[in-house]
């Protein structure tokens, strides 16, 4: 091998070294369990949560974004009001096994047991916000990463049916209060949706009427 060839092999080796050291490794099982416990404890002590959100859907094939904004309210147990205000008004209320959807003037009542899509959405949203998805070993394989001021939880569906729709879910938890700050849901299509939570209010009074189904 001539000198130029050797030089390129050297550069390649240096590049490999740097790129592998740049990868964040998953926390060992014992540390991951401690993080999961802290998230679970924080969720247990959270009786209500109100937050704004910015949702960005990335369309991978055409490299476009769809941005939506809104507010959500969560109250124990299994009460969720997910409300879009931009680019149009759209409201979903999950009240235990019942779902109410208001799309402009159209109202729709859905039983969660009879609608697979809404059942999945409900499980993912509530599970992600409360961090309970991390304990859902029946549906997800979970790895935890220590990343600057956040813990990143990577959830890969083990359920084949779910994997046909979602390839992975990543949750970013604040290291200060262990609440979720960001959710990234990557679909089998390659598209992904990023939901960033802003202006969180924990354990503030949220009236039950917010979750009332008309």
């Amino acid at each position: 091998m001539n000198k130029i060839g050797l030089f390129f092999v050297f550069v390649f080796c240096v590049f490999l070294q740097f790129s592998s050291s740049g990868q964040v490794k998953a926390l060992p099982a014992a540390d991951a369990d401690m993080v999961k416990k802290s998230i679970s404890d924080a969720a247990r002590s959270t009786t209500s949560l109100e937050s704004g959100f910015i949702q960005t859907k990335e369309l991978s094939v055409i490299k476009e974004q769809i941005v939506s904004k809104g507010t959500f309210y969560l109250k124990k147990t299994r009460l969720l009001r997910w409300e879009y205000t931009d680019p149009f008004a759209y409201l979903i209320i999950f009240n235990k096994d019942r779902i109410y959807v208001k799309d402009e003037d159209k109202e729709n009542h859905i039983n969660i047991q009879s609608n697979k899509v809404f059942r999945e959405v409900n499980n993912i949203l509530i599970g992600a916000i409360q961090g309970t998805l991390l304990q859902d070993t029946r549906n997800f394989q979970c790895s935890i990463f220590d990343q600057h001021d956040q813990f990143r939880a990577l959830l890969v569906p083990v359920n084949q049916k779910l994997r046909e729709t979602i390839s992975e879910i990543t949750l970013y938890f604040s290291k200060s209060d262990y609440t979720v700050e960001k959710l990234v849901m990557r679909e089998a299509s390659g598209d992904y949706t990023r939901i960033e939570f802003v202006s969180k209010k924990i354990n503030q009074l949220i009236p039950d009427e917010k979750f009332a189904i008309p």
């Binding site: 476009e64 769809i66 680019p87």
Partner: protein
């Protein structure tokens, strides 16, 4: 020869029976007037548009946001995802074909996607270049209706606005489609609804932005 003539007759009867518009109910315009140039609102300088979308088919209702983007001179991309962001459709569409980049499981039916492709083909790839039309008038609205028999297409132009208000076309018994276009301001439609009466499909698109 006789069997060939019989076959032609059968084909004409089948073709006419597929049409979603009955010309017998329209007023035929005999005098020879200049046919105005018209084109799809998705032609020429169209780049992309985002819509609030809903699809009703076989008793199922899907809603969310759709994005239509021109990807080349001969193709468009149609993406439709629910409000939470989960994709229903991700299709690349050409005049006579389509490619599925992703379709949500229960919707991934070849016959249904072919119908959808044909509906979009009418919306995207038609214009006054489709041939020499027969001219009719809608007896109620007095809209001009041009029938392009070779393209199996009816195009309605508003009496006063001269904008394209409706398209109707078909290629077989099951994919007859009626497309309505509404305008609030400007030359691009603020609302588009695609009705496929024979399979009971309604796709409603309301413009959010371009």
């Amino acid at each position: 020869m006789r069997s060939l003539r019989s076959l032609s007759l059968i084909l004409i009867v089948v073709a006419v029976s597929c049409s979603p518009v009955r010309t017998s109910k329209l007023t035929s315009v005999k005098h020879d007037v200049k046919i105005p140039d018209w084109e799809s609102p998705f032609a020429r300088d169209f780049d992309k548009a985002m819509f609030k979308a809903s699809l009703d088919v076989k008793g199922k209702h899907l809603s969310g946001i759709a994005l239509i983007k021109k990807t080349s001179d001969t193709s468009f991309h149609f993406s439709f995802a629910n409000e939470i962001g989960m994709t229903y459709f991700d299709l690349e569409l050409w005049k006579d074909s389509y490619r599925t980049d992703y379709v949500f499981g229960p919707l991934n039916k070849k016959a249904f996607l072919k119908i959808l492709q044909h509906d979009f083909s009418i919306l995207f790839f038609t214009g006054s270049f489709c041939g020499k039309p027969a001219h009719y008038l809608d007896p109620v609205t007095l809209d001009d209706i041009y029938f392009y028999s070779g393209a199996h297409l009816f195009a309605y132009l508003g009496k006063d606005s001269r904008k394209l208000t409706r398209l109707a076309g078909w290629s077989s018994v099951v994919d007859a489609s009626l497309i309505g276009l509404e305008y609030t301001q400007g030359p691009f439609p603020s609302g588009i609804n695609i009705l496929n009466p024979r399979i009971g499909m309604l796709l409603d698109l309301n413009l959010l932005g371009r």
